[in-house]
Amino acid sequence: MPFSRDQMAARAASDIPEGWVVNLGVGMPTNIANKVPLDREVIFQSENGVLGIGPAPEPGHENHWLINAGKQLVTLRPGGSYCHHADSFAMIRGGHIDLCVLGGFEVAENGDLANWATSENDTAPAVGGAMDLGAGAKRLWVVMDHTTKDGRPKLVESCGYPLTALGTVHRIYTNLGVFDVEKGLGFVVRDLAPGVSFDEAQANSAAKLHRPA
């Protein structure tokens, strides 16, 4: 049975060691924060200048001045801090974020990511901070469904959609499994969802999958 979205988030969360500074993209990646136990200190950064994001506020204790990049109300952990947008992206661009997790339209076997526009003629595509995060973070993971709703593979030989960042994806979590991008090799299967076979994952991918060495 493929991973549910919740399981994908939990799986990614379990791979984040204590002490990492992590930026989670809007959408599916945001859920990862909920899967990291508070006593494993992972420092979540949000590009709107919040470092050390805590759990969602309890009802009645919302602070409307405190949101994340997805514009959800959040809290700040003790030890957290605020900064302005240029300082926040200096953290990102300067390589001070250990991990960024983004959603994806396509990931290519050379680590290219496409996740912001569906065509060159897209009407007003919205990039946000994805290109900065894609180019700047020390590690880039992608969480996405393995295929589009109509079954088209999202692990590809080369991206058809406009690129977000070149050659920077390290790992992909999908409903079918966990895949590393290895330089000069391509996609390597790290793990498969319960009941999902290598062949099934391969059949749903448009690039060669490698078995782990």
């Binding site: 949000s46 590009e47 709107n48 200048g49 919040v50 919302e62 602070n63 409307h64 001045w65 405190l66 949101i67 514009k71 700040l76 605020y82 900064c83 302005h84 947008h85 240029a86 926040s88 992206f89 200096a90 990102i92 661009r93 526009a117 060159e120 009407t123 007003a124 595509p125 919205a126 990039v127 946000g128 901070g129 994805a130 290109m131 900065d132 180019a135 700047g136 406009p162 690129l163 977000t164 960042a165 070149l166």
Partner: protein, 226 residues
């Protein structure tokens, strides 16, 4: 006595010219200078270039300014947020120009403008559509894109507190683009929730020193911004 505090919104927006580039702070609704945007609508300047992370939502504020056809061009990172109906309509009809800039590059371009740096290099957007037509250059074996400073004629910012020298302190994630925009414009106008006496803001947490601010006006946005 230096006194940058003004008493009316009309005074705050006085002299904003047609054709100006307006930097508008805030991320989502947090730190968004709502009252100043309303006052700009009232003030009448047109043919504006607006720099703002989003392209407005609903039919108020920046969206209203666009609906009134007063915005020639928008520079932003994320035009297509939920409810950015006005922008999408105008854009589809070719009635508004759009320059999409990666969010971090947008912040850094304004930081550069404020810091006297005419251009800088960044790896962000290298090899993508957004680097088209821009100079690319190698440093240490890696490719970078040259980006230019982004100056404003006017910056509209919101802060939690301010004083008569123009010092500002922000609250929580209300800081966002505001301090950067304050440095990048010739005329920075700040809407603050609380006017403080000079010296009441801790010198260690003045986020925008007064020299970047020309006018301060108190405006309480009301719940939940209290």
């Amino acid at each position: 006595m230096i006194n940058k505090i003004v008493q009316s919104m009309a005074e705050a927006l006085e002299g904003v010219k047609d054709g100006s580039t307006i930097l508008i702070g805030g991320f989502g609704k947090v730190g968004q200078p709502d009252a100043l945007i309303e006052a700009l609508i009232e003030q009448g300047a047109t043919d504006l270039t607006c720099v703002c992370n989003n392209a407005g939502t609903g039919r108020e504020g920046l969206a209203r300014l666009m609906e009134l056809r007063r915005v020639r061009k928008i520079i932003c990172s994320f035009p297509r947020s939920t409810g950015s109906v006005v922008f999408e309509e105008l854009y589809k009809e070719g009635k508004i120009e759009l320059e999409i800039v990666p969010q971090g590059t947008m912040a850094e371009r304004m930081r550069a403008a404020g810091a006297g740096v005419p251009a800088f290099y960044t790896a962000t957007s290298h090899g993508t559509l957004l680097a088209r037509g821009k100079e690319e250059r190698e440093f240490g074996g890696k490719m970078y894109v040259m980006e230019r400073a982004l100056h404003g004629d006017v910056a509209l910012v919101e802060a939690w507190e301010g004083d008569r020298w123009g010092n500002l302190a922000y609250k929580d994630s209300g800081r966002n683009f505001n301090p950067v925009m304050a440095t990048a414009a010739a005329l920075t106008i700040a809407q603050v929730a609380h006017i403080r006496e000079l010296g009441e803001i801790d010198p260690e947490r003045v986020h925008t020193p007064g020299l970047f601010v020309q006018r301060v006006i108190e405006f309480k946005r009301g719940a939940p911004w209290t």
